[in-house]
Every structure is written in structure tokens, then in C-alpha cells.
Point group: C2
Chain length 199, copies 2
């Protein structure tokens, strides 16, 4: 029986755009359940002095070209390079954390990435966030208040601790038990690992 | 007609172990000619303040596990984590540069990686290098003298300049004209790009 896959991600990671759009279909076809687990990769990267793109223009240029090529390969729309970096206060990520508690994380995250990549909106911008939440049938004030509560801040920090304990340093990362797979390009490997996992 | 693929690599890059063992078969099957082009990724990384693993134990641990898993997937032998980092004076790389001029780069590089990954020898160690060169039917003194000559130092620096001009920041990188693909896991994408290239 396939083991569940933990999908650790950060709204603001660029390659996560691909994973957010692919994981649903890929996992469903393989019969692998997925848990969406937003965490602060930014906090972990700071702790580890791991800054993959800031101050590294060659690597940054390549990353955008690679994301564009990969999106094309998967028939995922890509218009132009969106705002970056985003979500300085991690509000969009705390909303993701709340949504993962309440069961609406996949639709929220996909919508947020669509707004970011295709409509040049900036995750974390309160006005765009309110509009998006209304489109999802949510009460923006209530959601934002909860996302700023100690409960959700604690949940988000706890998920970041869980990621750190697993040795996670980047987003997206797929975890099957203690086995971790970093990068959208390892999604299939992670699914395969989950499918063949034998407790 | 397929366009030639430039295989930019550094002896000392870990993922390059996979590419060195895969590129011959993958390219031959696709009918894509390959040019082996050793360069100093270390010089470029220093310039760009890009240190992917040093001081980053979580990322380093993951990298070795990922290399091991990937090697298994491709039936490439992997015994245990080899010495790292290696080739401090880049002598093994200058020999690679010489070999690329003289036409024996693939066999040299594959042998060097085999000694490094499977026999725990350190690329750049003069004694191991001499033994390996003798096994390839070369005169070690003559090869090392040439590798230390101004001509080969200039060639190696020139290839590093070429890589930098293309926006290359890591090893292995596959280039088809100005289109670059970073990482062993992009080899198939690069081959596909070369096959469908239309001048």
C-alpha cells in the first residue's frame, strides 16, 4: 500500500509553481495520498546561510529560463518573470498553513500561484489576498485574523521545525517518512518511492 | 541534423560523476555529438559567492544521498561517500583540459571519477594521477609537465571564460549553442534540444 507523501513547500519558491500544478494529477494516478505542508523555507535558508539566487544573477537568470522551459514541457502556463522575492511578512504562507488545517490548501495555493505567475500579483499583498480569498468563498477578515493568531503562527513554526528535523533545506521537498526528495524534478522519484514503500 | 552538445564539467563536482558515466550512451543513442569541455567551476563559484555545500551540512547530506539514489537508478556503482572537496590545485582538471585537446578526455575523466568514487583516491593527488595515466598508456611526467604549461593553463582559463560568457555557474552544464542546461538531471532535456535544433 502506498505511503502518504508529505509535500513541504513555501509560497514564494519559484520551482514550487511547477509542483503545485503537477502533484495532484501525478499522485492521484499513482494512488499516493498527499499532505500539503507549508513551512518557512526562508527561516531555514537564513539559518543555513543558503541564499540560492539573491546576489547571484547568473543563477537567477538560469532559474527563470529553466522554470519557463519546464512549464512548457508540462503544459503549465508561463507568461513572463513575475515579481520576486515575495511575501516578506509570510502572511500568504500563514494563510496556507491555516488552509492546510482547514482542508482548503490545494485550491488556495494553486490560486495564489496563478495570481502570482500569470497576473503579476505579489503574494503577501493584502488587497490581492483579500480578492483571492473572496473568490474562494472565504471571509478575508476572518481568514487574515486567524492567519495572524498565535495558533497559526505556532502551527507554521511547528511545520518549519518538522521540515528542519527531516533535513529539508529547500522548497519544494517531498518526504516519504524520513526519505526526502528536493525539487519539482524529483516528484516522480518521490511518488515511486511512496508506491514501493513497504512498512 | 542534431547540433553538437558542449559538455562543460569540473573534475571535483559530485553530480558530474553521473553525467560522465551517462553522456556517452545517451548522446550516441540520439546521434548527438558531444564536446567534452573541462573548466574551472570553482573560479566561477568564487566570483559569484556561490558555495553550494561548504558550511551547509543539510544540503551536503542530501546531495550525497541523492547522488547515491540516482546512481542506483542508472546502475552506476556507488560504494560510499568519497573524499570531498578535491583537486585543490586543479591539476586533475588541467590534465582533463590537455586530454580534451589531444582527444582522450572521455576515457581519462571516466577513469578519474572511477578512482575517486570507487577507490577513494583523491583527484589531484600526484601519485594516484601518475598511476592512472600509466594505465591509460600515457607518460605521467610528460602529461603533468604539459598540464602545468602556460599553453594548457591558458586553454583551461579560456574554457572557463567561455563557460562564464554562456551564463554557466555549475557543473555539469550542457550547452547547445547559447541554451544551457544545468545538472545531470537535465541531460535528457539538453539532448532533446540538440536533436530538434534547427539552424
Amino acid at each position: 500500500m502506498p505511503r502518504a507523501l508529505d509535500f513541504f513547500f513555501f509560497v514564494g519558491s519559484t520551482y514550487t509553481y511547477l509542483a503545485v500544478n503537477r502533484i495532484g494529477d501525478v499522485a492521484a494516478k499513482a494512488g499516493v495520498p498527499v499532505r500539503w505542508r507549508p513551512f518557512s523555507v526562508r527561516a531555514i535558508m537564513r539559518e543555513q546561510n543558503n541564499s540560492p539566487f539573491t546576489g547571484k544573477p547568473a543563477k537567477m537568470n538560469y532559474m527563470w529560463r529553466d522554470v519557463e522551459r519546464r512549464a512548457k514541457r508540462y503544459s503549465i502556463p508561463f507568461r513572463s518573470i513575475p515579481p520576486y522575492p515575495v511575501d516578506p511578512d509570510e502572511l500568504a504562507n500563514r494563510v496556507a498553513s491555516l488552509s492546510s488545517l482547514e482542508g482548503w490548501c490545494p485550491e488556495y495555493t494553486r490560486s495564489m500561484y496563478r495570481c502570482w505567475f500569470l497576473e503579476n500579483q505579489t503574494p503577501g499583498d493584502p488587497e490581492g489576498l483579500r480578492t483571492l480569498l473572496r473568490q474562494l468563498g472565504k471571509d478575508p477578515d476572518a481568514v487574515i485574523a486567524k492567519a495572524n493568531s498565535q495558533e497559526i503562527r505556532g502551527r507554521y513554526a511547528g511545520e518549519t521545525d518538522a521540515a528542519r528535523s527531516l533535513g529539508i533545506f529547500g522548497s519544494p521537498t517531498f518526504a516519504c517518512g524520513s526519505e526526502i526528495f528536493w525539487g519539482d524534478d524529483r516528484l516522480e522519484d518521490a511518488i515511486e518511492w511512496s508506491r514501493t514503500y513497504d512498512d
